[in-house]
C-alpha cells in the first residue's frame, strides 16, 4: 500500500510539475492562476471563451479548440482559416468542411462559429479588453491574445 501511495504521489508531482513547466515554456506562467470563473466568458460580445487562451498557454499549444460562439464569418474564409472549425448550422454543431461538402452552406454564406483553434480565435478577437476588465485576478489576457496572434513578438512591458 505504501509503495502505491509513493508511486501515486510521485506521479501527481510529476504531472503538476509538467503542467507548470509547460506554462513557463509558453512564456505566460501567470495563466496557471486562472481558475475558470467564467466572468470573461459572459462578457465577450463575439462569444470567445478567454479561458481557452489561458488553457492554450498552460498547454503551450495554440492549436487547442476553444469556444467562439458568436462570431460571424463567411464560410469560405472559415474554411481557409481552418477546415475543422466547428460552426453552428441549422442548430447543429458541424465542421465547416463537412457543412460545405454536404451542401448545407455555400462559401458565400455568413455563418456563426462555435469552436475554433486558439490561434484563430486570437486573430478574430477585436481586442476590446472587456475580458481583462472583468478578470478578478487581473490577468493580462490581451498579452496572451497578442502573443497568439503574432507568435514570436516581443512582449509589451
Amino acid at each position: 500500500m505504501k509503495k502505491i501511495n509513493i508511486f501515486l504521489f510521485t506521479a501527481i508531482v510529476f504531472y503538476l510539475g509538467f503542467i507548470g513547466a509547460r506554462a513557463f515554456f509558453s512564456g505566460y506562467p501567470f495563466s496557471l492562476i486562472c481558475y475558470n470563473c467564467k466572468s470573461c466568458d459572459s462578457i465577450c460580445v463575439i462569444g470567445i471563451d478567454p479561458q481557452g487562451f489561458m488553457a492554450a498557454s498552460v498547454a503551450d499549444d495554440p492549436d487547442i479548440y476553444i469556444y467562439v460562439t458568436n462570431y460571424r464569418i463567411y464560410a469560405g474564409e472559415a474554411e481557409k482559416l481552418d477546415p475543422d472549425m466547428i460552426i453552428q448550422c441549422n442548430d447543429k454543431k458541424i465542421k465547416v468542411s463537412a457543412a460545405l461538402n454536404e451542401g448545407l452552406i455555400s462559401r458565400d454564406t455568413e455563418i456563426i462559429t462555435y469552436k475554433m483553434k486558439a490561434k484563430d480565435a486570437a486573430k478574430v478577437c477585436i481586442e476590446c479588453a472587456a475580458c481583462e476588465r472583468v478578470c478578478p485576478v487581473k490577468l493580462p489576457i490581451l498579452d496572451v491574445i497578442k502573443g497568439l496572434k503574432n507568435p514570436g513578438r516581443e512582449k509589451s512591458l
Partner: protein, 211 residues
Amino acid sequence: MTPNRYINYFLIIVLITLVIYFGRKVYREIFPGDYPMVTPTAESKFIFGENEIIVKLSATTKNGNIIVYTYGPDGNFYGMLKPIKDLSITIRKGDNADFMVQVYGREIGETSFMKKMDRYIRKVGMYDLLIEAVEKKWNYGVQNCLYPICTRCTDGCKSVVSTSNLPLVMSVMDNGEIKPVFRKGRCPRCGKCIIWCPSGVIQKEKQPWEK
C-alpha cells in the same frame, strides 16, 4: 576702482551666466504627443431586398468588421457586428441585434448585450427593424467605431485623467452614430486612446504640413 575689481566682477558675471546656462532644465513638454482625431465612417448605401439587405461600403475597416445600427421604436440604438466581404455587408432575416444602447438626445445611457455565451437573452431582428426604420424615418447606418462592444478609448483616458470630467466622451452624432468626441483643451495628448483603439478610428491628428 582698481582694474582687478572689474576683472572680479566680470568673472562673477561670467560664472553666474555659465551656471545658469549649464544648470538650466531642458524644457520638455509633459505630453509631447499629438491630439487625437476621429476618422469618419466609410460611406454606405443600403439596398433593400425581399429577404436581405445589402450594404455597399466605400472602404473597409482595420479588422474587417463594422457595426450596422438602427434606432428602434423605443428610441434606443440597436446594433450588430458584421463582417465585410468585397466591400459589402449582407443582413438577412434572422440576424439578431447584438446590443442595445439607451440614447437620450446626444447622451448615452445604459447598454445591454442581447447575447450571452451561445444564447440570446432577447431577440431583436435587425432586418425587420431596418425596414421599419426606413418607413418611419429613424436613423440607421454603419459605424466604424465598435462602441459599445469596445470602450478602450474611454478606459485609456480614465487611466490617465483622474478627474471625472474626461476629455474624451462618447456622443451621439446627427446621423445617429455613436462616436468619441474630444475636448481639446482638456486632452493631455498622452496618445493612449490612439494606441489602444483596436479599430483604428482614433488616429493622430494630421498637422497642416502632413495633409
